[in-house]
């Protein structure tokens, strides 16, 4: 009998539980990528995840590592508490655009600027999915949603927030990359980004975030394929893919070293602290 070899299986860090994600949603892909990375790095036993409020609210059931469910937007603060208590653990949060860039923007910005050694997986699909398709902080100008039925009017509703670009100005950040998962090639790139973020965290380099430009076929009112087309056509020009910060690629050991270099003209910054 020919030897049977498993070519494809569920990652160990992803539990055999039916998810609540809609058909065609990219959350499933990204959940899996995070779990694959946890498996490959062999960190499940010392990994703690933080689930948000939003479509991925039930993620605490899906991942096999320890999990905490945070209040809406507060995942970075909860992650901070988890990480500060056990700095040897790998802590990640998994958040959508409403959670991260609207109600949780203060927590996001300050966790990043503190250089919290956590990894944030940020799903940007330009809409509030779980509550039924309201305008998000990342909804595009003129995008029709339940609460921008005539299209997002930037004069009254303001402009979308580009999270990676904004966070790239902060000194505590070690790594930022924006990816998407619309093709096998991009899925592989997304996984590499997630793996790099987790690796940087385990090397204590600083705050890491991977933004995944995603789709919401249900609330966009499109088939999954059409949603990907709309994403490529409209979201990617507004939210260009790429690396927004990588202190190692810039030649530094970590975010702290890069921050020191950036502020070298300031004498205060270079004061040596007594041991």
């Amino acid at each position: 009998m020919a030897e049977e070899k498993v070519m494809f299986d569920r990652p160990h860090a992803l539990l055999p539980i039916v998810t609540n994600y809609c058909p065609g949603c990219t959350h499933g892909i990204v959940n899996r990528l995070v779990a694959e990375v946890i498996d490959e790095l062999g960190i499940e036993g010392r990994c703690v995840g933080v689930a948000p409020v939003g479509c991925s609210v039930m993620a605490y059931k899906f991942f096999g590592c320890d999990m905490a469910e945070a209040a809406h937007g507060r995942a970075p603060a909860v992650a901070t508490g988890l990480k500060r208590t056990h700095p040897e653990n790998i802590v990640f949060s998994y958040q959508g655009d409403g959670d991260l860039a609207s109600i949780g923007m203060a927590e996001t910005v300050h966790a990043a600027s503190r250089g919290e050694k956590i990894t944030v997986i940020f799903i940007n699909n330009a809409i509030y999915g779980m509550t039924g398709g309201q305008m998000a902080p990342t909804s595009l100008p003129n995008q029709i949603t339940q609460t921008s039925p005539y299209g997002r009017d930037v004069i009254t509703a303001g402009y979308p927030i580009r999270v990676c670009e904004m966070l790239s100005t902060l000194d505590g950040v070690a790594y930022l990359e924006r990816v998407c998962v619309d093709s096998p090639r991009n899925v592989r790139k997304a996984k590499a980004a997630i793996k790099k973020a987790f690796t940087y965290q385990s090397e204590s380099r600083g705050y890491t975030l991977v933004e995944v430009v995603s789709t919401c076929p249900t609330n966009w009112g499109m088939t999954p394929q059409k949603a990907f087309e709309w994403m490529r056509e409209n979201m990617l020009p507004y939210y260009p893919l790429g690396v927004y910060k990588d202190v190692v690629a810039e030649g530094f050991e970590n975010a702290a070293e890069a921050a020191l270099k950036r502020a070298e003209a300031c004498p205060m910054v270079n004061v040596q602290k007594e041991a």
Binding site: C65, M67, A68, A77, G81, T85, V109, H110
Partner: protein, 353 residues
């Protein structure tokens, strides 16, 4: 044997918390709790702990949630407006059965109010410390010594019942200096097998969570939690009774206002009025048993509070209409004067003749 030291109430809270094994403090600046956070920032690292100034009260309480979920002894402190911001996180902690200690050094309200002492967060602490069906255990110290004693105990009680515990102090107790004997540092802390500290491939994953989308599940869980609250009510009611046994007029006061009420009781006794004082130390669970007991012989009750009349509701619930219950209060940072309280005692005593 610990020696007696002179300390501010806020500093005694901080030092005693560290001696209780608290190693994580997350806070945000606000008056009049200032010295507590300052003391922590200066000393927490010396015991290997973490002091972190959060970007907001909201973030601070969620850091507490995270650290507690990870198994830490953790606390935050604030004053009234900041406690309102923490209420969301406290509700989530209660819903996820996470222990932790929250200090409220109360100031005048509502709104931005004042920065002077007040007791106007009694209702908030005992009735509605956030959305949903839940309680937190509330201690009301009345001396700097009790600040040290009850925060030391609060961490144990929080872990024992897996619930947030509040120290309800006020700007007067926080800012005043008194001699205090500090407790010995704790050497052993309880195991927390439920903690989200990494399963080390040795157990199922732990989850800290307050979400239950199935109605029956949440219903069952809330009933279970309230059974635990019944146990707390039976075991943890605390009150200090002063000259109550033969008292005609029983004063009920907590925290700073109890100090004034006690002076008034002494003044009343000096002129032959049989006054006594019940001082609730736990505000939740409210020490109803001793108030019911006193209602058997008391002619009247008088609540003295630094608010518009909040604890008086609980006293009336305990007395259940069997005796008259009056109220005397000052707010906004005005401290009731012992003579004002004595006048109330006199008129109640005359009314009773």
């Amino acid at each position: 044997m610990s020696e007696k030291v002179l300390m501010k109430g806020n500093e005694a809270l901080a030092e005693s918390a560290m001696r209780a094994g608290c190693r994580f403090f997350f806070g945000y600046p606000i008056t009049p709790q200032t010295e507590l956070a300052a003391y922590m920032s200066k000393n927490m690292h010396k015991v290997g702990g973490v002091y972190l100034q959060a970007e907001s009260e909201i973030s601070a309480i969620n850091m507490v949630y995270g650290a507690s979920a990870a198994g830490a002894r953790v606390m935050t402190s604030s004053s009234s407006p900041g406690i309102s911001l923490k209420s969301e996180g406290i509700s989530y902690m209660a819903g996820a059965d996470l222990p932790g200690v929250i200090v409220n050094v109360q100031r005048g309200g509502p709104g931005l109010g004042s920065i002077q002492p007040s007791q106007s967060d009694y209702w908030q602490a005992t009735r509605a410390m956030g959305h949903g069906d839940f309680h937190v255990i509330v201690y009301a110290p009345s001396t700097v010594q009790e600040m040290a004693d009850y925060i030391y105990e609060a961490f144990d009680v929080a872990d024992k019942y897996r619930t947030p515990v509040m120290i309800l102090a006020d700007g007067m107790l926080g800012q005043m200096m008194e001699p205090v004997v500090l407790p010995e540092p704790k050497t052993s802390l309880p195991e927390k097998p439920w903690a989200c500290d990494g399963h080390k491939n040795a157990r199922e994953h732990n989850i800290a969570n307050s979400l239950y989308l199935t109605a029956e599940d949440l219903n069952r869980l809330n009933f279970e939690r309230f059974e635990r609250y019944e146990t707390i009510k039976q075991n943890e009611q605390r009150a200090d009774l002063y000259l109550v046994d033969d008292a005609d007029i029983v004063l009920v006061a907590f925290g700073a206002s109890a100090r004034i009420a006690k002076s008034a009781v002494n003044a009343a006794r000096a002129i032959g009025i049989k006054a006594g004082l019940i001082r609730p130390i736990t505000l939740w669970p409210f020490p109803c048993d001793c108030i019911k007991q006193a209602s058997l012989h008391a002619k009247a009750f008088l609540c003295v509070e630094m608010n518009m009349g909040q604890m008086v509701d609980d006293v009336r619930l305990c007395v259940a209409g069997s005796k008259p219950v009056s109220f005397f209060g000052r707010t906004g940072g005005v401290i009731p004067a012992p003579l004002e309280v004595l006048d109330c005692i006199k008129s109640l005593n005359e009314g009773g003749r």
